[in-house]
């Protein structure tokens, strides 16, 4: 961790979001604030005692409706590093299987002292429902196909760590895989277009449905603070001269749903293997949100190659989540009145 000189003229950006459910409401200065706070959190992780008392006595509850050990453990580690008390609910063993509604579960958890609720759910939009009935802060750990804000932010942080000057403007980022069903892709669209990157989304036509229309809507710079992006099924065009190559998981269910002929065919045409990745820049990095299906969307040798920063993503994930838990916990009282967004 390099010496940090007092940031004499840093802009005074505060944090006023009571929840973080989607990155669509986060402005670029706020993203910069998250990045700087993550720098500090990484510093804490480098210390002999990797813990600070910032969230001492606060209760962080993880409510995961979808099984996910890695993400849940990442959030819990982040919470513990800030000295928070952690409670984990994974629905396989809870009353949810007895048919308890989301609203009732959230109210119960609040009565049990939950202050920050980290949620993962299979249905898009579920965290907004939780936020409507929850008096504390909701941090979205992934909802359906919609959003995965902490993933997009840790992806952004990792890219900035590996690109000169930490500047993504004009840098080509290729995301390859099942874009249609990917909350990681959707959140990355918001953050990377805000960062000024040259974003390319690539996958088979059946898994890109609707993305063309989205790209067309944004092509004229219609959304303030966000640029355009590209959608293609031509993997060579997507990867050529890319600075960042990101693979997304392909799920077996897509085959059953009639969207893919076979995983073998996907691998033959879209797998990130050494040959394809060599189309990217020589110092391009390879990323993946995990867990990986090695041999399907990514070749095993590429996953562990020198260009791969996949394990950095995991480490950065803890730091980003520490930063967000810290910022949310301190969110201004005034923010409590706003409509859950």
């Amino acid at each position: 961790m390099t010496a940090v000189a007092p940031a004499a003229h840093a802009p005074a950006v505060g944090w006023h979001h009571r929840h973080l459910i989607d990155v669509d409401v986060v402005t670029w200065p706020e993203i910069e604030l998250i990045m700087r706070t993550t720098d500090e959190m990484k510093g804490i992780l480098a210390r002999p005692i990797r813990k600070v008392p910032a969230l001492n006595g606060r209760r962080v509850t993880t409510l995961f409706y979808e099984a996910s050990t890695r993400t849940r453990v990442s959030f819990e580690t982040a919470a513990r590093n800030l000295s928070a008390d952690v409670v984990s609910i994974s629905t396989a063993t809870s009353s949810v299987t007895k048919g308890e509604s989301l609203v009732d579960t959230v109210r119960t958890l609040e009565a049990l002292g939950a202050e920050i609720l980290v949620m993962r759910h299979a249905v898009s939009g579920a965290p907004y429902l939780a936020a409507e009935v929850f008096g504390g802060h909701v941090l979205n750990g992934g909802d359906g196909w919609h959003a995965h804000p902490t993933q997009a932010l840790l992806d952004l942080y990792t890219m900035r760590e590996n690109l000169p000057g930490g500047d993504l403007r004009g840098r080509k980022v290729a995301i390859v895989g099942d874009i249609l069903h990917s909350r990681v892709a959707r959140s990355n669209i918001w953050t990377l277009t805000a960062a000024g990157a040259d974003l390319w989304l690539c996958g088979p036509a059946t898994l890109l449905r609707g993305m063309d229309r989205w790209a067309a809507a944004w092509s004229g710079g219609a959304i303030p603070g966000h640029g355009r992006f590209n959608v293609t099924s031509d993997i060579d065009a997507a990867l050529r001269d890319a600075d960042v190559v990101m693979g997304l998981r392909i799920q077996r269910e897509r085959m059953q749903g009639g969207l893919l002929p076979s995983l073998r065919e996907y691998a033959a045409r879209f797998q990130l293997n050494a040959e394809r990745v060599s189309l990217a820049k020589p110092d391009a990095i390879v990323m993946h949100p995990g867990p990986m299906n090695e041999g399907v969307e990514i070749a095993p040798d590429v996953a562990i190659s020198g260009r791969s920063v996949i394990t950095d993503q995991v480490a950065n994930g803890v730091a980003v989540r520490m930063a967000l838990l810290y910022l949310l916990a301190g969110a201004h009282e005034a923010a409590r009145g706003e409509a859950a967004r």
């Binding site: 010496a3 940090v4 000189a5 007092p6 940031a7 004499a8 840093a10 005074a12 950006v13 505060g14 944090w15 006023h16 604030l33 700087r36 706070t37 500090e40 510093g43 804490i44 210390r47 002999p48 005692i49 813990k51 600070v52 008392p53 910032a54 969230l55 001492n56 800030l82 810290y326 910022l327 916990a329 301190g330 969110a331 201004h332 009282e333 005034a334 923010a335």
Partner: protein, 189 residues
């Protein structure tokens, strides 16, 4: 709302020179000493003290910066001031005699946080405290070993320390607090 100047640039300079002598006197030398400035304005003050000690003892003491943002017990400030300024301790704390340096000593809470933070980094042999201004109203049993100036104040007043490194001038002034602002705001030390 007029600011009342209570220390000029020259007075600050003299106080720093005096404090630097006191620190060395108390230690009977410079051995084992290290200066740690508390972000933000404690940091340039710590540097100036180190400069003064170097001048009269010929010895450059290690200087570090300590950010206590994550050790505060009150998160309500995060919304307005989440900006973290950075901790840098480029020396081994274990066995060192650390002199914490801050601009204003008030309730003592900042110093308590600073001691917690410091101890997470290592085990100093001793911790001492040097402040430019002691304005009274302690809420914790904390006292400074070295004080630039004792200034009795009321709770409605704010002490502003300006240092050339950030503020273009060196001076200390007192202002009456505007009624609308939260009394537990930036001034709470």
């Amino acid at each position: 709302m007029t600011d009342r100047q209570i220390m000029t640039g020259d007075e600050i300079r003299r106080a720093i020179v005096r404090i630097s002598h006191e620190i060395v006197e108390k230690q009977a030398g410079t051995k084992g000493l290290a200066l740690v400035g508390i972000q933000r304005r404690g940091v340039p003050l710590a540097r100036r003290i180190a400069d003064a000690i170097e001048e009269h003892e010929g010895m450059r003491l290690p200087v570090g910066a300590l950010d206590i943002t994550f050790y505060r017990d009150d998160l309500s400030l995060v919304a307005e001031q989440p900006m973290v300024k950075g901790t840098d301790l480029p020396f081994d704390l274990n066995g060192a005699t650390v002199v914490l340096v801050d601009d204003v000593l008030y309730t003592g809470r900042t110093i308590r946080c600073a001691m917690d933070a410091l101890i997470d980094f290592g085990r100093p042999r001793a911790i001492r405290l040097a402040v430019l201004i002691d304005r009274g109203h302690r809420e914790l049993p904390i006292r400074a070993d070295h004080v630039g100036k004792n200034v009795p104040t009321s709770r409605e007043e704010i002490v502003h320390v300006h240092v050339a490194e950030f503020d273009e001038v060196d001076e200390v002034s007192i202002a009456r607090q505007l009624p609308a602002s939260d009394a537990s705001g930036a001034g709470d030390r």
